[in-house]
């Protein structure tokens, strides 16, 4: 048997082990090559499919690179003003308590302009899932400094490196919200390896299960890359993230009640 015929024999329906979930639409993603947003979208879509909650899930998209997340996940969506997703999700979850409501927010959206909204939604323990993508930069507007930008990290608005004496230290949002009694599950994950993606999926699934059990707010931070903002290749970005982001933003679950 030649190699090609052997491959052709393997490629058949009964041997299928991994394919795109139908909850992910066929629209080509507008994200840069290697962008973590794509992996996170896929994982959320897979959890929605596995839990069979496509008809009950409402996503709230942010302002940031993922503003158009609604083009990719085949569910109902609300597009929020910059930082306000937790406010939309608050009302949506309270007015339709039987639904699954999640916000999807970048670090500029959640940790800067939307800091009040997220802290108070966490404090009230809204029955929602928050997916927080920390790529340490403002991707959409061209790579400016975010509240999560690391010390000395070069961005368009910290061209000589972030000076913490003047701009404050990078904010550890997961640590902050884990102090609030309203949060039930706070975890920091990543998505750069198959193992990390599997763990992330478990975390997101747990978040939606918490919603089902009306446990309150699940906060899932994902430390991700922005190769365009960081001006590195996607693979170099993963290396940079492991070397620089992981020590400051350690992965793991901070709270699970």
């Amino acid at each position: 048997m030649t190699a090609t015929t052997e491959i052709n024999n393997i490629i058949s329906e009964e041997n299928l082990v991994y394919k795109k979930t139908d909850v992910l639409l066929d629209n080509e993603m507008h994200y840069c090559p290697g962008c973590t947003h794509g992996v996170i979208h896929k994982v959320i879509a897979e959890v929605i499919e596995e839990m069979d909650i496509q008809d009950k899930t409402i996503g709230v998209s942010p302002v940031g690179c993922s503003v158009l997340a609604y083009n990719y996940l085949d569910i109902d969506w609300q597009q929020a003003a910059h930082g306000r997703a937790p406010a939309l999700a608050t009302a949506t979850a309270r007015l339709m308590p039987e639904k699954y409501v999640f916000t999807y927010q970048g670090d500029g959206d959640l940790a800067s302009i939307g800091c009040a909204e997220i802290i108070h939604a966490c404090n009230r323990g809204e029955n929602i899932v928050v997916v927080f993508v920390n790529n340490a930069i403002y991707g959409m507007t061209g790579g400016q400094m975010a509240p999560t930008t690391l010390e000395n990290q070069v961005t368009a608005t910290s061209p000589y490196g972030r000076d913490c004496a003047s701009t404050g230290a990078p904010m550890k949002i997961s640590e902050m919200v884990s102090l609030l009694p309203g949060t039930r599950f706070v975890t920091r994950q990543s998505a750069e390896t198959a193992g990390a993606v599997r763990k992330l999926k478990k975390a997101i699934r747990k978040g939606f299960e918490n919603t089902r059990e009306k446990k309150g707010l699940s906060f899932i931070e994902i430390v991700g890359t922005c190769s365009s903002g960081w001006k590195l290749s996607p693979t170099q970005s993963n290396e940079w993230m492991k070397e620089n982001m992981f020590p400051y933003y350690p992965l793991g679950t901070l709270k699970d009640e």
Binding site: A3, I7, I10, L24, E28, Y31, G34, A194, V197
Partner: protein, 75 residues
């Protein structure tokens, strides 16, 4: 000899050539092609198909979800 034989299918027109699948593969199956797709990206392909064990690592990390993975018991 591996217990499983695998194979992947890359939707090469949708691939953005980020290379994350290449580094995710434990058995170095995938490479970026020298040629480019319609969008100008060096798309991923199985350069070393015999080594594929169908572990799905590439599929999981691909941000654009353009890899389908198959796995059969080795004959």
């Amino acid at each position: 000899m591996a217990k499983f034989k695998g194979a992947i299918v890359v939707d090469t027109e949708k691939c953005k050539g980020c290379g994350l699948c290449v580094v995710s593969c434990p058995t170095a199956v995938i490479e970026l092609a020298r040629g480019v797709n319609g969008k100008g990206y060096h798309y991923a392909h199985m350069a070393n198909p015999d080594a594929c064990i169908g572990c799905s690592s590439c599929g999981l990390v691909c941000p654009d979800t353009v890899i389908t993975v198959y796995r059969a018991k080795a004959s």
